[in-house]
């Protein structure tokens, strides 16, 4: 099976896992390895960003959360963004313009993460959830049809952030994942140690830049294969006719490989 087909299959599995409540199973103890609103009527897992905000409000030292997040980070790092996250899949569906990433701006997602944590502490409330576009799709809209939500100011704010995010996604491929996702920020901390990783064979790389044109995150995979923004989607692996890039599972070597030219 082609890598691309495997990824579509995994993304489908992620979507099914996110909506597994359709089987009648209620909320479980699991934390989702991506951005997926736990308020979604069909969710069976807890959103990591929603949960950490609640734990901050509760004053709980989040051992269970840290253990789960470290597990996901260690397994795949941002690979979950490329292979599993339903909101990442939506980003993929709207990835029409694979423009180059602005690396310094991409740290804005850390600012959003830090702001989310501080706002939860300062206001004793889940402030990020009130703006989260994933919650707009997965909670606001379904609950409108279930008769719990109404078209009011919070609903319109949700629709506004959703419209802005979708607009961003159309203009810039994986816009949310590149610049805004707080879960992506957390997982990116593990990108250089995660078992799933992108590997470069320097001898085979001609530096042609084909991989760069294929990367939805706007990276140069042949020089930035261990970049914190890499979602390990494997688009570059498929595009490289020389087989210089590959997705591997195992401990990563320290240091960066560079093409020998």
């Amino acid at each position: 099976m082609k890598l691309g087909h495997r990824r579509r299959f995994a993304q489908g599995a992620g979507l099914l896992f996110g909506l597994f409540g359709i089987t009648g199973i209620g909320m479980t103890h699991l934390i989702f390895p991506g951005l997926h609103c736990y308020a979604c009527p069909l969710a069976v897992t807890v959103c990591p960003i929603g949960l950490i905000q609640n734990l901050i409000v509760f004053g709980t030292i989040p051992f269970f959360w840290l253990g789960a997040i470290a597990a996901y980070g260690l397994i795949a790092g941002r690979g979950f963004c490329g292979w599993f996250c339903p909101f990442g899949t939506l980003n993929d569906l709207l990835a029409f313009r694979k423009v180059r990433i602005r690396d310094s701006i991409s740290y804005s997602k850390f600012a959003i993460l830090i702001g989310t944590l501080i706002a939860a502490w300062a206001f004793a409330d889940t402030m990020f959830c009130k703006l989260c576009p994933a919650a707009s799709i997965e909670a606001s809209i379904p609950y409108l049809f279930l008769g719990v939500a109404k078209v009011n100011r919070p609903f319109l704010v949700h629709m506004g952030t959703l419209a802005g995010t979708i607009g961003g996604m159309i203009l810039i491929a994986r816009f949310w994942c590149r610049y805004l996702c707080p879960m992506g920020a957390i997982l990116s901390l593990f990108n250089r140690v995660s078992f799933l990783h992108l590997r470069l064979s320097p001898d085979r790389c001609a530096g042609c830049g084909t991989c760069t044109r294929s990367c939805p995150m706007g990276l140069e995979p042949h020089t930035e294969h261990d970049n914190h923004n890499c979602i390990k989607c494997g688009e570059c692996v498929e595009s490289c006719h020389l087989g210089a890039l590959s997705l591997r599972v195992g401990p990563q070597k320290a240091g960066r490989e560079a093409p020998r030219r």
Binding site: L51, F58, F63, G67, A70, L117, A139, S140, F155, P251
Partner: protein
């Protein structure tokens, strides 16, 4: 430059997390335990119950007042009120019980209600905790009651142990990262990360945090995800609303479903309480959905697997209101008042 920015963000993230975990919000901060939850008291005699109070948070508990009201028994708490319990401190209240001679024999369950408050800046939270007490009334006895020595009780997992565990975890992680960077030794980092995963999950399960996560996910607080705005104002009924309430001439029982961490719930609770104060035919009971999930499910406040709070159920008709927005008009409609 990029590396500096990244380091700054990582440092800020860790700092924010450290600051944040020291914070607390609308969550009970005090834990209570009774030295003797099964107490015996002779007719015409006395007994002593010792209530121990632990503050495991960074906030000060204020005006802690235990209330125990039992017919035929005079209760004298010492002290009557603990005005302030500092962070991470503990306190004790001795409840002296004096029974009437004519008190009926037998076993009965009672509840010690403890009221307290705490504030984060200008934002204050009030709580009423209930501690069960089983009281056995025995025939008169000549044996004098011995007052047990009041000793502080250590919590099984004090806050400083949890904080220390987290600190050790991050310290080992930092050391392993340095080793990987400086000496290109990768196995210590993987070993520490594996320990971080296993230790975090295991200790989290020991502390019941997996249940806490499941509980948070299973309950939909309408204001938390932005389905409606949280109401923080005073729950005031308009004169027209009060007039409509006064027209209700049938006995109505309401169940108000709430969660302690739900921001919209206190407003809904207070509105129902105020409605009941204007018309004595309106009865109500507050139901904590985390404590009575079965009742919530049986009452229909569960929507496709989520318990939605706040929810107000009129028991005789089964009609339910969700949320706290525009509550006055919706409550009058629910109660059948003439507006």
């Amino acid at each position: 430059m990029n590396r500096r920015i990244r380091r700054a963000f990582v440092l800020a993230f860790v700092s924010a997390l450290a600051i944040a975990i020291g914070g607390a919000g609308q969550e009970p901060i005090l834990t209570f335990s009774l030295d003797n939850a099964n107490l015996s008291i002779p007719q015409g005699g006395t007994a002593v119950a010792i209530l121990r109070i632990e503050n495991g948070s960074v906030y000060q508990g204020d005006d802690i007042e235990p209330i125990l009201a039992i017919e035929g028994i005079e209760v004298s708490p010492e002290p009557e009120t603990i005005e302030a319990l500092p962070p991470f401190d503990s306190g004790t209240v001795v409840l002296r019980l004096s029974a009437d001679e004519g008190l009926p024999l037998g076993i009965a369950s009672h509840v010690i209600e403890v009221l307290y408050a705490y504030c984060i800046g200008d934002l204050c939270f009030q709580f009423a905790e209930e501690i069960p007490l089983t009281l056995t009334v025995t025939p008169p006895s000549e044996i004098p009651v011995e007052i047990p020595e009041v000793l502080p009780v250590e919590s099984a997992y004090p806050f400083w142990i949890r904080l220390g565990a987290l600190g050790f975890g991050f310290a080992f992680l930092a050391a392993a990262i340095v080793l990987r960077r400086m000496a290109s030794v990768r196995w210590p980092l993987y070993a520490v990360l594996c320990l971080f995963v296993l230790g975090g999950l295991a200790y989290g399960v020991v502390l019941n945090q997996h249940e806490q996560a499941q509980g948070i996910g299973a309950v939909l607080c309408t204001s938390c995800v932005g389905i409606e705005e949280a109401q923080h104002g005073e729950p005031e009924w308009t004169p027209a609303g009060i007039a409509a309430l006064e027209t209700i001439d049938e006995e109505i029982e309401l169940l108000v479903f709430y969660a302690v961490w739900c921001h919209a719930c206190p407003y809904a609770e207070a509105m129902v309480e105020a409605a009941a104060s204007h018309n004595s035919r309106i009865g109500f009971r507050f139901v904590d959905v985390d404590v009575e999930p079965e009742l919530a499910e049986a009452s229909g406040v569960v929507r496709t697997g989520r318990t939605v709070v706040p929810a107000i159920l009129r028991v005789d008709t089964g009609k339910i209101l969700f949320g706290a927005e525009g509550l006055e008009a919706r409550l009058i409609d629910l109660l059948g008042g003439d507006s």
